[in-house]
Symmetry: C2
Subunit: 256 residues, 2 copies
DNA sequence: GAGTGGAATCGAACACTGTACGAGATCCCC
DNA sequence: GGGGATCTCGTACAGTGTTCGATTCCACTC
C-alpha cells in the first residue's frame, strides 16, 4: 500500500500521465489530504509534533516568522529533516491550518434555537481567528479540505438543515454565515498587525488615520462618532450587529 | 517642506524621538499614506509607473510572483532603483492595493433604492477582487488607508446614511456589507488558485474533494446536490442569495 | 553477535528573496 | 563650467525553500 521507496515528492499521477510518462508536464490538484501520510511509527518525532511546533511558531511570530530553519531549531533537529514528514512548506501550512480548525468547539444544536446555535458558532470562529491571526492569511490561499475544517462545516450545515433550509439553500445559508464571520474578522487582523508591527501607540495611530481621512467629510464624521469609544468594544458591537442582520435575513428566506 | 537629504527610510519621528535621538528604538505605525511622497518631477519614470507595472506583474503572476528584481526587469531598470521611489516592498504593495481600489466604479446613489445601489457596489467589489486575486491576500495584511479605498468607503457610507441609518449604525451596516463581500469572495480565490496551480483538471479535483469528504454524510449530500451544476454559476447564486439576506437583515434593522 | 535494509537525519549547495550601501551618472540652475 | 540635487545601479549580506547524497540509526533475520 505504502511504497517507501517513493519520496513524498512523487506526486500522484493520473492515468494520462502513466500513459505518456515524461511527456506530460502539467501538474494537477494536490493537497496533503489527497495523499496517504507517512506512517508515524516512531514514538518520538512525528508529523503531529511538527505541526504542533509549527502552530506555536505561527502564533508567536506570525506567518512570515515561520521558516523551516527556525522550526527545525525549535524541534531540535536540522531544518531539512522536516521534509521527511512533510512534502513542502505549503503542505505544512495546510496541516497547521487544519490543526487550527480542530481547536474550535463544535456547536451543539440541542435545546436551542438555530439562531442561538449559529450565533455561538460565529462568535467561536471569530475568537479562534483572532487567537491565531496567521489563519486569516491562509483563508484566501488554500481551500480547507482537512478533516477538522470539514467536521466543523458539516456540523454547521446540519444546523441549517435542521432549521428548515432545503437543497442548495442549506449550503447557501452556511456559506453566507461563514463569509460574514471571515469578512468581519480578517480586516481586524490587519489592524492588529499594524498595531503590533508599529509598537502600538494610540496617538500616532489616531493621527495617521485622521490625516488619511482628512478631506473626506463622511469619514471624519465616522471617526468622530467613535472617537471616545474603545476600539475593541466597537468591533464587538459591530460584529454582533451584523451577525444579527445576517441571521434575520436568513430567517426571512426560511419562512417563504 | 520636503527634505531631500533624508532618504525614504528615515521614518517620521515623534517629538519624543527628536528629544532623545538614537536612544529610542521603538518603531511606530507607518504607512505610505502618512508620509509625503517623492515629488514626481521627471516625466519618465515615476511612482505611478512603478505601481502600474507592479499591478500588472501581480495580475500575471500573483503575490508570490512579484519580486523587486522581476519588477525592475519589467521596467527596464535595476531592481534597487525602485527604492528611490518606494521605501520598501510592503509600501509598494500598499500602493498597488490602493490602485486596485481605484478601479472600482463608484456607485451612484440616485434614482435607485439604497438596496439597488448597495447590491451594485457589492457585485462590483466581487468582480474586482476576482479580477485581481492577489488583493485577497492583502486584505488581512494591511489596513486600506489609501485615497481610493477611502473614497469608496465614503460613498458606500453615504449610501447607508441616506438609507436612514444613524450614528454608529451607519458604519455597522457598511462594515457588515463589505465583510460579507470579502468573506464570500476570498475563499473563492483559494479555489481558483488551486485550480491554476494544479492545472485545472475537473475530474481529479472532484475526486480529491470526494475523497476528502467521504465519511461525512452531511457533506457528501452537499456535493451531490450541486454535482451537475457549473461551479461558477453556483457561486454566483450563492453570492446573490447571501447578499439578499444581508440586505434584508439590514433593512429590518432600519425600520425599528 | 553479525549482517542487512529500510527509516530517519542532516550538511552542503543552489537559486532566489528583500534591501543597505556607496559609488557613479545625469540633470538643471547659477 | 561648477556645483548641488536627483536618480541609477552593482555589489554584498543575511535569509529563504528545497534538492541531493552521504551518513547514522535501529529493528530484524540468520
Amino acid at each position: 500500500m505504502f511504497d517507501s521507496t517513493r519520496t513524498l515528492y512523487d506526486k500522484p499521477r493520473t492515468v494520462c500521465d502513466c500513459l505518456y510518462p515524461g511527456e506530460v508536464t502539467g501538474k494537477q490538484f494536490t493537497s496533503v489530504w489527497t495523499r496517504d501520510p507517512r506512517p508515524a511509527k516512531s514514538p518520538g518525532r512525528s508529523r503531529d509534533e511538527i505541526v504542533r511546533a509549527a502552530v506555536e511558531l505561527l502564533d508567536a511570530e506570525g506567518l512570515e516568522g515561520l521558516s523551516m530553519r527556525k522550526l527545525g531549531a525549535r524541534l531540535g533537529t536540522g531544518a531539512t529533516s522536516i521534509y521527511w514528514y512533510v512534502a513542502n512548506k505549503d503542505e505544512l501550512l495546510e496541516l497547521a491550518y487544519d490543526d487550527f480548525w480542530g481547536e474550535i468547539t463544535l456547536p451543539e444544536p440541542t435545546a436551542q434555537t438555530w439562531q442561538q446555535t449559529v450565533a455561538a458558532a460565529a462568535h467561536g470562529m471569530r475568537r479562534l481567528i483572532l487567537r491565531h491571526p496567521w489563519s486569516g492569511e491562509l483563508i484566501g490561499r488554500m481551500p480547507s479540505l482537512g478533516p477538522n475544517a470539514l467536521a466543523f462545516a458539516a456540523v454547521l450545515r446540519r444546523t441549517f438543515k435542521l432549521a428548515g433550509f432545503a437543497g442548495l439553500e442549506i449550503d447557501y445559508a452556511n456559506t453566507t454565515l461563514t463569509a460574514y464571520v471571515f469578512g468581519m474578522t480578517i480586516p481586524e487582523l490587519a489592524w492588529n498587525k499594524s498595531k503590533a508591527d508599529g509598537g502600538y501607540d494610540p496617538d500616532t495611530m489616531r493621527e495617521a488615520v485622521t490625516k488619511a481621512t482628512a478631506g473626506i467629510p463622511e469619514l471624519t464624521e465616522s471617526i468622530h462618532n467613535s472617537w471616545d469609544l474603545d476600539p475593541d468594544q466597537v468591533r464587538e458591537m459591530a460584529f454582533s450587529f451584523g451577525l444579527g442582520a445576517v441571521l434575520d435575513g436568513l430567517e426571512a428566506r426560511l419562512v417563504t
